[in-house]
């Protein structure tokens, strides 16, 4: 940094040294200025030392702002504009002013893009609600004519549309999950039962049974988002279940008091080397390629939501031996158990 400073000040330094040289030259040429050789040397040393000290002092003073800016750049955060180093010189003030202007400009850009995103999200939400009206009417017609085999296959497609549209609604809400997050106490089996029922037409078509195991347990969670996770895990389990297979939902309480629900399918399982990546966005693994239907989004979304609402999502699987997905709920803390 010092070298850079000296380099920037090179014209001043050269000018000073040339002046000194000129004085030395005058002393040497002009016989009127009689000085002894060692005095001249002494004078030169003094002046060079003086300028060196001067440069050191100026270096400290003039580089203070730049140094502070470099520090700030290292650990820049939200309110960097407020923590801009104080300016002493005019050019420092100009730099600060420019940075503030740039910040304002980007702030503006960001607000624009945010509001565009909100508009889009609101639009999506409105659209989803709008599209639910014809879906409801369709469902009513299908429900009252279920003995018609044609309508049965239409019901299956209806379910696919319904699941996709619902997923879209949740995706659009994901960034603002915290805003409609409501904790409620509920029975975990009851919650899972509702989701299993949603998939009835698909399971019946695929001849997949769903069994429950264990006692009903209470959890305190956001019903909507919790059901969303269960739905992703269940649709996955149904998707990979073989014809005539059984999906087992078991509820347990771990020794340290965590409530857990496991969803076990009899599907092809997941290879060990794929396990660490199944919650990644866009990861479909060997299974996905096999089934050609995986978007690689379901488990990623389930995991993202689980992290946000404090549910731990784990997987156990072996190739050829099915898959177990586990949702482990946080312990209801003492304060809340007293309150309820």
């Amino acid at each position: 940094m010092l070298l850079r400073y000296l380099y920037d000040r090179k014209s001043w330094i050269v000018f000073y040294l040339l002046s000194l040289l000129l004085v030395d030259l005058l002393i040497w040429i002009d016989t009127g200025l009689a000085m002894r050789m060692d005095s001249v040397l002494y004078l030169n040393m003094m002046l060079i030392l003086a300028v060196a000290l001067f440069l050191g002092w100026r270096f400290q003073k003039e580089m203070k702002h730049a140094r502070a800016l470099a520090d700030l750049a290292e650990k820049i955060d939200e309110d960097w504009v407020v923590t801009l180093p104080a300016a002493y010189f005019y050019h420092e003030e100009a730099t600060n002013e420019f940075l503030r202007a740039a910040d304002r400009w980007y702030e503006h850009k960001l607000a624009d893009s945010k509001s565009a995103r909100y508009t889009e999200r609101d639009y999506t939400a409105a659209w989803v609600h709008e599209v639910k009206a014809p879906l409801t009417a369709m469902k009513l017609t299908i429900d009252s004519n279920r003995d018609n085999p044609i309508l049965r296959s239409i019901e299956l497609e209806w379910l696919r549309i319904h699941l996709l549209i619902d997923q879209q609604l949740y995706v659009s809400r994901l960034p603002t999950l915290e805003m409609d997050y409501v904790l409620e106490q509920t029975g975990l089996q009851k919650l899972a039962t509702q989701e299993v029922r949603e998939l009835a037409s698909w399971c019946v078509e695929k001849n997949v049974a769903v069994d429950f195991e264990g006692e009903e347990v209470l959890v305190r969670t956001d019903l909507k988002w919790c059901r969303f996770i269960i739905r992703q895990l269940l649709t996955n389990a149904v998707k990979y279940s073989p014809e005539g297979g059984t999906i087992l939902l078991s509820t347990t309480v771990t020794p340290d008091g965590h409530v857990r629900i496991s969803i076990r399918d009899e599907g092809p399982g997941i290879a060990e080397h794929d396990l660490p990546r199944i919650f990644d966005k866009g990861f479909t693994g060997g299974n996905g390629r096999l089934h050609n239907a995986a978007t690689g989004l379901g488990l990623y979304l389930a995991h993202t939501v689980a992290v946000k609402i404090g549910i731990s999502l784990t997987v156990q699987s072996e190739l050829g031996a099915g898959t177990v997905m586990q949702m482990t709920f946080p312990v209801i803390n003492a304060f809340e158990s007293v309150r309820s």
Binding site: A137, K139, L140, S144, R146, H162, D180, N207, A209, G244
Partner: protein
């Protein structure tokens, strides 16, 4: 049913309104709706229904508005039906005195159960389901889930009983395996083909106590039938 209940549905989507009307009329409810969405109250007052179903998104005024208007003149039970699922909407509906909130799209039997629960609470009415059904000289007790003949009881599991009840209610008609499975699913018994076969086998074994194992007939490729012997 002890009395005919009338239901007033404020829903602007004609397809949903008509489908709902059709289904509810099958259950012998009397269904009406407003003539105009800027003046719901005059039809409401004319109809004096036992239950009101309101959609939130409506032309002119929203469902909350009409809920408020109705609440100002009546204590009639109100059920909201909406595709909105924000907790705030539900809280708002409940605060305005709604009795329940059902999300679209819904299962018809879930809505029906909700309607019956509300009517039961409000008008102290009970659906009369036939508690006892006679079949081939046996009495099927729907309440206790057992089958009886000559003072001898045979207890059935939930699934077995459900299957028997469905078959007997449609007696001498073939009910396909798919239909049976689907009805079991609607009753939250999530079975597959194998479980159904096992259940039928066990059911027949139990019916053998009354020499009725032949009464559940398998129609190859079609389904099952409860025959009258």
């Amino acid at each position: 049913m002890d009395m005919d209940f009338s239901i007033f549905i404020i829903e602007d989507d004609a397809a949903i309104y008509n489908a709902l009307k059709e289904r509810l009329e099958q259950w012998s409810f009397h269904v009406t709706g407003p003539e105009r969405f800027d003046d719901v109250m005059s039809t409401y007052i004319k109809e004096q229904p036992h239950l009101v179903i309101i959609d939130i998104q409506l032309p002119m005024y929203d469902g909350f508005h009409w809920c408020r208007e109705i609440r100002a003149v009546s204590k009639v039970p109100i059920l909201f039906l909406s595709s909105r699922d924000h907790p705030l909407d539900m809280v708002m509906a409940m605060n305005m005195g709604a009795d329940d909130y059902v999300q679209k799209p819904f299962h018809m039997d879930v809505l029906l159960a909700q309607i019956q629960a509300i009517l039961r609470r409000t008008y102290a009415y009970r659906e009369d389901t036939d508690d006892l059904i006679e079949w081939n000289g046996t009495i099927i007790d729907m309440k206790r889930g057992l089958i009886r003949k000559d003072g001898q009881d045979v207890l059935l599991t939930k699934n077995e009983f459900f299957i028997l009840a469905v078959l007997v209610k449609g007696r001498d008609k073939v009910i396909s395996r798919q239909d049976l499975i689907r009805q079991l699913w609607d009753d939250e018994q999530f079975v597959n083909d194998n479980t159904l076969t096992a259940n039928i086998t066990r059911l027949r074994q139990k019916l053998a106590a009354f020499q009725l194992e032949e009464a559940i007939v398998t129609k190859k490729g079609l389904g099952y039938m409860a025959a009258t012997l």
